[in-house]
Symmetry: D2
Amino acid sequence: MQNKLGVVVIGVNGAVSSTLIAGARLMAAGHVPRLGMLTEPGENPAPGEQVTDFLSFPKVEELVFGGWDLAFKNVYEAARHHNVLPAAQLDKIKGELEAMKPWPAVFSGEYAENCKGENVVTAKDFRGELDHIIGCIEKFKKDHGLDRVVMVNLASTERWMELADVHKTLSAFEKGLDANDPNISPAMRYFYVANKLGCPYVNFAPSLTNVPALEEMANELGNPYAGMDGKTGQTLLKTALAAMFKVRNIKVEGWYSVNFLGNNDGLVLDSPSSNKTKVLSKAAVLDSIVGYRVENHQVHIHYYKPRGDAKEAWDNIDMVGFGGVPMQMKINFLCQDSVLAAPLVIDLVRLLDVAKRKGEKGIQRQLSLYFKSPYTSPGEQAQHNLFDQEALLLDWAKKHADK
Amino acid sequence: MQNKLGVVVIGVNGAVSSTLIAGARLMAAGHVPRLGMLTEPGENPAPGEQVTDFLSFPKVEELVFGGWDLAFKNVYEAARHHNVLPAAQLDKIKGELEAMKPWPAVFSGEYAENCKGENVVTAKDFRGELDHIIGCIEKFKKDHGLDRVVMVNLASTERWMELADVHKTLSAFEKGLDANDPNISPAMRYFYVANKLGCPYVNFAPSLTNVPALEEMANELGNPYAGMDGKTGQTLLKTALAAMFKVRNIKVEGWYSVNFLGNNDGLVLDSPSSNKTKVLSKAAVLDSIVGYRVENHQVHIHYYKPRGDAKEAWDNIDMVGFGGVPMQMKINFLCQDSVLAAPLVIDLVRLLDVAKRKGEKGIQRQLSLYFKSPYTSPGEQAQHNLFDQEALLLDWAKKHADK
Amino acid sequence: MQNKLGVVVIGVNGAVSSTLIAGARLMAAGHVPRLGMLTEPGENPAPGEQVTDFLSFPKVEELVFGGWDLAFKNVYEAARHHNVLPAAQLDKIKGELEAMKPWPAVFSGEYAENCKGENVVTAKDFRGELDHIIGCIEKFKKDHGLDRVVMVNLASTERWMELADVHKTLSAFEKGLDANDPNISPAMRYFYVANKLGCPYVNFAPSLTNVPALEEMANELGNPYAGMDGKTGQTLLKTALAAMFKVRNIKVEGWYSVNFLGNNDGLVLDSPSSNKTKVLSKAAVLDSIVGYRVENHQVHIHYYKPRGDAKEAWDNIDMVGFGGVPMQMKINFLCQDSVLAAPLVIDLVRLLDVAKRKGEKGIQRQLSLYFKSPYTSPGEQAQHNLFDQEALLLDWAKKHADK
Amino acid sequence: MQNKLGVVVIGVNGAVSSTLIAGARLMAAGHVPRLGMLTEPGENPAPGEQVTDFLSFPKVEELVFGGWDLAFKNVYEAARHHNVLPAAQLDKIKGELEAMKPWPAVFSGEYAENCKGENVVTAKDFRGELDHIIGCIEKFKKDHGLDRVVMVNLASTERWMELADVHKTLSAFEKGLDANDPNISPAMRYFYVANKLGCPYVNFAPSLTNVPALEEMANELGNPYAGMDGKTGQTLLKTALAAMFKVRNIKVEGWYSVNFLGNNDGLVLDSPSSNKTKVLSKAAVLDSIVGYRVENHQVHIHYYKPRGDAKEAWDNIDMVGFGGVPMQMKINFLCQDSVLAAPLVIDLVRLLDVAKRKGEKGIQRQLSLYFKSPYTSPGEQAQHNLFDQEALLLDWAKKHADK
């Protein structure tokens, strides 16, 4: 088996994606430290058992990136625009980033209100779009001599939608494709192709893709996948702190969360329908960890321009302790959303590649550590506690140990 | 076996102790919710496996309290002074709290500079003091018909001290007692008696008591014990957040911690020698969880009167993520130190009682969850990661399951 | 001239009002310190010239309170419900607070969506309501032997409304009263009576009352009045900090403000139409002080139950300094809204009483210090800078000096 | 009169100084906005009367800089090291900054413990050092064709010292110079030369220079001067907020201030003797504004490396309002110390130049707006209230109006 691994990204010129690609190349060239990933034996190996003690992964140098996008001429231009990594760093690898030009994207304005861009695929119907996606991937494999490719959804959040009949079985879904059913979102069309080509698939966005039809397809065709919605700033913190409150049996009476950010993601979330998708995806998390319904739990997201891609999350927690005494905690997290997200994608790509190699298929629950809303089958409960999620991943790594 | 369990407290009129006793009695009477303990099946059982699924404990109603102190006429007066639980609550159980009068305490001004009080035992030498302590416990057992007693050290932090020869073997220690060696602190004299009488012992303070001589004695006589320094506000948070940073491989570059509080504990810690004991006890924790030395780690503690027993902890964390990008987190914890501490003592008392019943002896490492500086034998590494500590306790509970 | 001064309050059982009355009586009885007022020579007289150096005011002991409300049987019950001053304090003056029973209020559900209560005046039309209000005041004066009364609007915020023709002249307004024109809000009907009876009037709420018709009436009848919307927590802070940024010529690039509170006021503001009134009333303030439009200025208000009357305001300010370098400031204000508001009402009552005595009429601009949106005549600019407002008041006091 | 104005800086390669010079040149070249100064009609003129409405100043383009320092080869190297303005900006004016090389400095290791550098003047005694300083200034004037020069002290804080006899009269001071009296610090020797040459003098550092001997000299020779210790981050904020609390008669019960920073200034302040100078200079400010002694007022300064020149100030204020109710405010100021300081120096230089022109001499009290500890004559009280200070300056500007 060759070690080169292809990564095709939906939304390749977004903030997370351009940070991810530039960061990977900067690490490969030794310009930045290898931080943020569990699949990379870092400069500072953490104590205790690690995933890297059990499994082997392609090196950062061996990841090859490509992808679709509506906007920006190439990854360099995108990365400069998003302004996450410093210009002085990006300029060190300017040439190779400029060479990465996005493929025309499948897009529907109905699903992503505030998105703009010209680089849209022209096809006469859904089946034509699928052929375009397939064509892009096959050419990418051939051009780079790749035998394996993982697909990652990093496109902007699509609007919230209900499960429709067309999503419920694979045969209904196939008919829907033939009929260009508007309930089949662009994100679903990409996932369909991933299954078809046997590319492991990650949905890092909060858009709806884990529908029964596509779960059925992945299981039938033996394709592993994981999602959804990367667990980065505030939810990461929430699932760690909630675990702490549980360990001390301190009752959480209220949790008031505010986020403000000034990037495109913030703008998209300012559209009420996308925001609903996001907020719902945050809601169940807390209750599930502490074991009861936190009655006063609020999450607000606002677009605030001066921040750019830097995001500020503010949490206030009201709690009740021994003797019924109230206490408060306030947290101010000055983070870079894309910096938190990018390394998770590298971990996910590598771990899904291993999963495929080990013969796993369907939802990969051991990857719940990476998601705000880990995928489950209908009726199943997701694990949200950050440290229980960590244990799940480690147990899985041990069970499938290479070493 | 009867279920009534005696608890004798060194420093019974301190803020933690009076909160603990009043809180236990208020819970017994149904005036406040049962929160803060893992050994109490709460109103809101947490998800997943719990200690209470495996082990049986005396009820809160079955805990009987007594203890030594220098100051305050009784527990009611102490609790009103410390002003942790509201007066309106304390008044509901005023009679029983007034009935709890402190026994004269063994004390040395040399060990605790800012402590005051009159109720000091008068004995001609150390051996006389030991007889006094034994007498108090025996009378307490007889008065209340108790067959088991756990001893808890909740006295003010003693000054920092080096290990001396007298601490190294039990025989040297016995000779030191005969010679009234000033290196044998009051806290050690109490622990000696606990071992002698077979009372499980908890050192909830950061004072030095786990010396080789007394570890030897506990192992020889089959007595279990645990310590030291209850993990409450800022360190609790630190060991949860550090675990989070580890899970995401985010490098901690600096951690700046400030505490200010206005209770007696704050005043004692304002004495540089006691403060040293405390700050050292916080230092190793972070490095041990993340797996490398955090170069810029500072902990400052200040006495600030307007706060009373309420404590404010402030943390600033500088971190470096993917691509070498810096991020910051700031946390403001408005807590009541005694409210965080008291329920841990109840857990410890119950778990040590179980340990004794199960034939355990010496250091009880499964209780590291409760301490800033979990006791270890010389050369052994302590576990500081809050969630690894939780797993240790749960594994132990399963192994010794009653149910 | 007798020194007893009557104060009639619309919304006498609200949080601010019950705090105000209980606080005044507790000060009179010596139970609490005399804080929060500029018209009260405090224990700690501030340096420099003070209003009290120039003007004489009735003592706190000489203020006599009465008022209208929909809810609560008496002021004691209201104050206990709002839970601002401690029960132990309120109980010291329980009798006199219980004796203060609200008069039936003029109310319209259309203007205040989330308000509830039974104690509504029954009158067949607007003129009947006015007679009721007049009757209440006259009986109050007679019962207490008062020769002067000031009216204060502390009712819940009414919904936002546009200026209509009926508001534009006094004669149109009189006709509107005859016709029960729904554009004449309850708050306007009270103000009309204040003018008619020659009672100085304060609008401490953000509801619309300073309409041309009523300004005309106040000027014709020689009645002084002031408003609107008490400047308490976040806006107070904003007008002080903006003055600081101006003094340093630091450019404010964004100001993100969040408030959360759990009292009735929070609930009312959760109704979008009332919230609009409030947020507009905050908007112009900042720009007017710094002298340019702050493009990214946001104010959000949320109802969050665990806080009760305590309010938490959070501000983030993005600024740009010398050399174009960005800086940030974050402020967390844990305040009690009613505690900040109540003493301002006492100041306003006293200062309007002086104004009347000095022959002033119409809008009292020297009182802008107390308001988020100081009243102006059409076309006039309000002064928002806290320290320029302070100078205005002091100049006025000097000009009208008694001493 | 020519408009070119010379500025000679003691500590020309420090963080404030290199920021100041680079910033001035960047403004002159149009690369950065003109912010932070009151003497520069900005893009956004503030409302109300401004200093620039009354007085004329040399343009930024007309300021010519020179100075002494121990370290760094030139201002470019210093500015890169201090890392306040971005490298990309500094590179735009690299040539002219590199051309500014420091003159050898008068230095005493005894006065500034943590300072290092090689570029020390070699002279056989104090009088020889004075000649060196005079020579530097005269050459500077000749080289640049200047008729006026202002001297600015921006050197590191000298250790705290008591007033000695040698400081009390000019004749004692002159004798001390002859005798190389170690009580005459380097900072005083520079100020002596400023007076001698008739250069207006600013002490922006907290070092002791306003001794009676030198005040006497300045008055005799007609030289104006001002100091001391620039009012930047936390004290700026403190004097604005204290003014706000005064306006509302809210009692400040405690104020707990922490600063952490990682620049050379932080390192110097970590030396206990320098820190004492600084902390004393902060202490009186608050009490003087509110008019009573704030009993619980603490200021802590810590060196914390990850912050570099960026400084984080944290304040917690405990206050008591109406009815004796406690409230809290917490402020987190993420500032750049040098960015706050640099424009004040430009203002001071220009305003002292005007003062000289207008015939003012001795302490310039109208400049108290710029200092933590405004200079006063013995027995005189300083004005600390930020807004009263602003009024002082404006009144002075009006009185001396050019326009």
